[in-house]
Symmetry: C2
Subunit: 245 residues, 2 copies
DNA sequence: CGCCATCTTGACACGTATCAACAGGCGTGG
DNA sequence: CCACGCCTGTTGATACGTGTCAAGATGGCG
């Protein structure tokens, strides 16, 4: 049997309006597989700040990020915190095959998730190699990202860290604009940052104050301009890239 | 067809003496699949220090670490280096489905690899879901490790970093001893460190001097004792764990 | 308008990097 | 066999970057 056209009449109502339908996991599914999975899944919305996953909690479900940004973090006993990942649409959320979570997840912005029970997804993974393949590829990408970030955390200066962070967000938060940028030559970017200074600091292994000072520096050097504390404009991404070390 | 007994007569000669036969990837293979894969694979040995993978090189093969320790690292343009992972037997080596390597790999100790051409492995992965599943699980574990290490790099002090490093090595370098330790109560460990101070520094995001000073401190506090610069004895692992932050 | 949280800025302290000298191990060659 | 040089690791003095603590500034929101 050939692969179903993903636009065929079997597409479930729930999935018809899904914006990440083709790019996320579900792209690996045929119409009837999608139908099966969608029976178990439901869309949930959470406002910014919601705890989506608690550290050490039992894993009962997985999710796909459909809209917004999710922040993954770990905390030491004494309260020191490190953000270990940011998930954008259409990323997968949750530790596959795990029993307990080893990190926590918060909604950085308002988010929309497509949630599916652990057992349902794992069953589908078990007899759908294409699905498992997609999950493997996403996991490999996340591992690449994590290793890139280890370089940032271990070897870059505060100034380079902040530049690297802005560059990361600029190139991830709006995949459409980013794709255009790769083609044409409009090398500017503008985005609304879903993270507080404290979040940025926890991502970069810095303090709030140092992040603020480095942002001020980048602003004075006109590499970036900051509107309203959360909105950033980067006139020339290449210029920013040069500051990433 | 049921799963073959992995001790059956079909086991290839090459694999018969493989020490990581049951724990690594190959545990997912039946006798004849193993036979097929072993046709393409060969065992290679490299002395400590050998460059196993060059950054930006084309990926032409994968490997399994059968003996020894492999160091994965990334370098910034100006020479700053960060070790982003250590691979012990029976870890898999190489970026699955990638075109080019995005990191370099060196033999930390003398190593023995079981090497297989990229195309051969990928073909087997394509029609052996169990194999892909194993690879997914290894990748997920590596991602967990990477995220744990991000906390160490971003939020721990030099002293805690060094303690965390020693703890990591003590619990990974000799899986057999470690398994015993989990059972019984002999909480001591002794190992020969396959890394130089420079390697440790690059792993921890520190300088050689700082690593040396912190080791001296741990030695003076009798948390560890150091024989011959490369051999470490840790009388009480729990005590070391308390220093990890 | 005014409160409160968030962000910025400043002064100073502290931890780690840097630079430099020294010690020990090991192979080479006299 | 010891002298020498080299490589690795240790220790010390000092510099610098980032953390800490404190005070303002800014902006969102009732």
């Amino acid at each position: 049997m050939g692969r179903h056209d993903i636009h065929n009449s079997e597409t479930p109502a729930l999935c018809g309006s899904c914006e990440v339908r083709h790019r996320g996991l579900c792209g690996a599914l045929s119409g009837d597989q999608l139908m099966m999975l969608s029976k178990h899944s439901r869309i949930v919305r959470h406002p910014a700040g919601t705890e989506l996953i608690a550290d050490d909690s039992d894993i009962t479900s997985y999710a796909n990020v459909m809209r917004g940004v999710v922040k993954l973090s770990k905390m030491l006993d004494d309260g020191r915190q490190q953000v270990v990942g940011l998930q954008f649409a259409p990323d997968f959320l949750g530790r596959l095959f795990g029993r307990q979570n080893t990190l926590s997840a918060q909604a950085a912005s308002d988010v929309e998730l497509c949630k599916v029970p652990k057992a349902a997804l794992e069953a589908m993974v078990g007899d759908n190699p294409a699905l498992e393949h997609r999950l493997l590829e996403q996991t490999l990408r996340e591992l690449d990202d994590a290793r890139d970030w280890m370089v940032t955390l271990g070897r870059k200066t505060a100034s380079e860290k902040v530049a690297s962070f802005l560059y990361l967000v600029a190139t991830h938060i709006d995949p459409v604009a980013e794709a255009e940028r790769q083609q044409g030559e409009n090398a500017d970017a503008r985005f609304d940052l879903p993270l507080s200074r404290a979040d940025i600091a926890d991502f970069l292994g810095l303090t709030i104050e140092t992040v603020s000072r480095q942002l001020t520096r980048l602003r004075k050097e006109e590499i970036i301009s900051v509107v309203n504390n959360r909105t950033f404009v980067i006139p020339d991404l290449k210029c920013l890239a040069n500051r990433c070390g």
